[in-house]
């Protein structure tokens, strides 16, 4: 169920060179016409159920499941170490083990946790009103910078960008002021699919996140 102000999933652009190197790399997004806020009772209950399903044995074996494994492999392919910088699903599972469960923080974080844990797909959020045009995955240009990050980005750094600028490092930090804050009025939920992740899973992840926020 979606509310007014919500949009169906949109497919963003992937730089042609990147698309050729990594077939299956994709970025889908959906707009939610509200900010974050306090989590709901239903969402908290859902987190508790997820916690019960994600015990130690499942957590250890998660890296070998198809979708989490695909993210680990992609991290290796782009020069990231998935053990130093965990993939989103492994980061969520790690938090579950350390904290004894999926703890409720706020509506957005809880929705993202549900989407990531249920689907295994990487989902993140931006302030929708601070996005210009369409989203894309592309290499950074010479002289480009990421807001809030000192210095320039090394040319060729993979970023999530809109028509005007880089918004975040791919699977990394979000630029200052581009993420969701208490003053955010609309949220852009972004799902990142990598080679080996079915498109339907990416769509499902977005739907889970949108549905959880409504």
């Amino acid at each position: 169920m979606t509310d007014a102000g919500d949009e169906l999933s949109r497919r963003g652009r992937v730089d042609p060179g990147l698309a050729e190197e990594f077939p299956g790399l994709r970025i889908n997004s959906a707009r939610v016409g509200r900010g974050s806020g306090r989590s709901t009772r239903g969402l908290k209950q859902r987190l508790r159920l997820l916690s019960d399903r994600m015990a130690g044995a499942q957590a250890i074996a998660i890296r070998n499941r198809p979708i989490p494994w695909a993210y680990r492999v992609f991290f290796r392919h782009i020069g990231l170490d998935p053990d130093e910088q965990p993939t989103p699903i492994e980061e969520a599972v790690r938090e579950r083990l350390l904290r004894g469960g999926f703890r409720s923080n706020n509506l957005l974080d809880d929705a993202l946790t549900v989407a990531i844990v249920e689907s295994g797909v990487a989902v993140r959020a931006f302030d929708a009103d601070r996005i210009t045009g369409d989203l894309a995955i592309r290499p950074s240009l010479a002289g480009e910078e990421l807001e809030g990050r000192p210095g320039l980005l090394p040319e060729g750094t993979l970023v999530i960008a809109d028509d005007a600028r880089s918004l975040a490092l791919l699977f990394g930090a979000i630029g200052s002021g581009r993420g969701v804050t208490p003053s955010t009025q609309a949220i852009e939920l972004v799902a990142l699919g990598v080679p080996g992740v079915p498109e339907i899973s990416v769509e499902e992840a977005l739907w889970l996140a949108v549905d959880s926020m409504n």
Binding site: W69, F75, G79, L80
Partner: protein, 190 residues
């Protein structure tokens, strides 16, 4: 085309060796791209293998699973992909050797426990930890005199199985201070 080192499994010792396949020659962009695709395929295969080893060996600790980053996120070149592939292969090989050694050690420890239980007096003060037999927790088997000093005088020995810490991982302070465990039989013989 830059040398494409294909890792070949050695049935004799079950370790991977690096064998140069192709001499250095000029490569076209398409050949370079094909080489990158092949290297990524190899990286994916070894990541799978490393993950399966990790899952199989858990909760044993002290095995190095790290490979290291390459300054991403970005598109890596042939040389960088080769380095990651080689590092993964080395990590897989090292892990297999470590696991095999631990398996032998754990089997020996289990047999020692059986011998201790069968004849505690022959294994006076010997202690075997649960970690030595590949089990989680902090239990240990300890050959001790029955009834303390009386048992010591009368040569009455028994194997006492400690159930371990009252907390799952011990006190929070001790867990933070304790070093990572090493392969140690933990025998105490007097």
């Amino acid at each position: 085309m830059s040398a494409l080192f294909e890792l070949k499994p050695n049935p004799a010792d079950d370790q991977l060796r690096i064998t140069p396949e192709i001499d250095h020659v000029e490569s076209t962009p398409n050949e370079t791209r094909v080489a990158r695709v092949e290297l990524r395929r190899q990286i994916a295969r070894m990541e799978r293998e490393l993950g399966e080893l990790f899952a199989d060996t858990f909760p044993r600790r002290g095995i190095d699973w790290s490979v290291g980053a390459a300054g991403g996120p970005r598109v890596l070149g042939l040389g960088e992909l080769e380095r990651i592939r080689d590092d993964l292969a080395e990590r897989v090989a090292d892990a297999k050797v470590e696991i095999a050694e631990r398996a032998d050690h754990e089997q020996g420890s289990r047999e020692l426990v059986e011998r201790m239980i069968a004849d505690p007096a022959e294994h006076r003060w010997v202690r075997v930890r649960s970690e030595d037999v590949g089990e989680p927790g902090c239990r240990h088997w300890h050959s001790r005199p029955r009834w303390g000093f009386i048992g010591l005088l009368c040569n009455w020995w028994r194997v006492k199985l400690s159930s371990g810490c009252p907390l799952a991982t011990g006190s929070r302070e001790n867990a933070a201070r304790s070093p990572s465990t090493t392969l140690d039989l933990g025998l105490q013989v007097t």
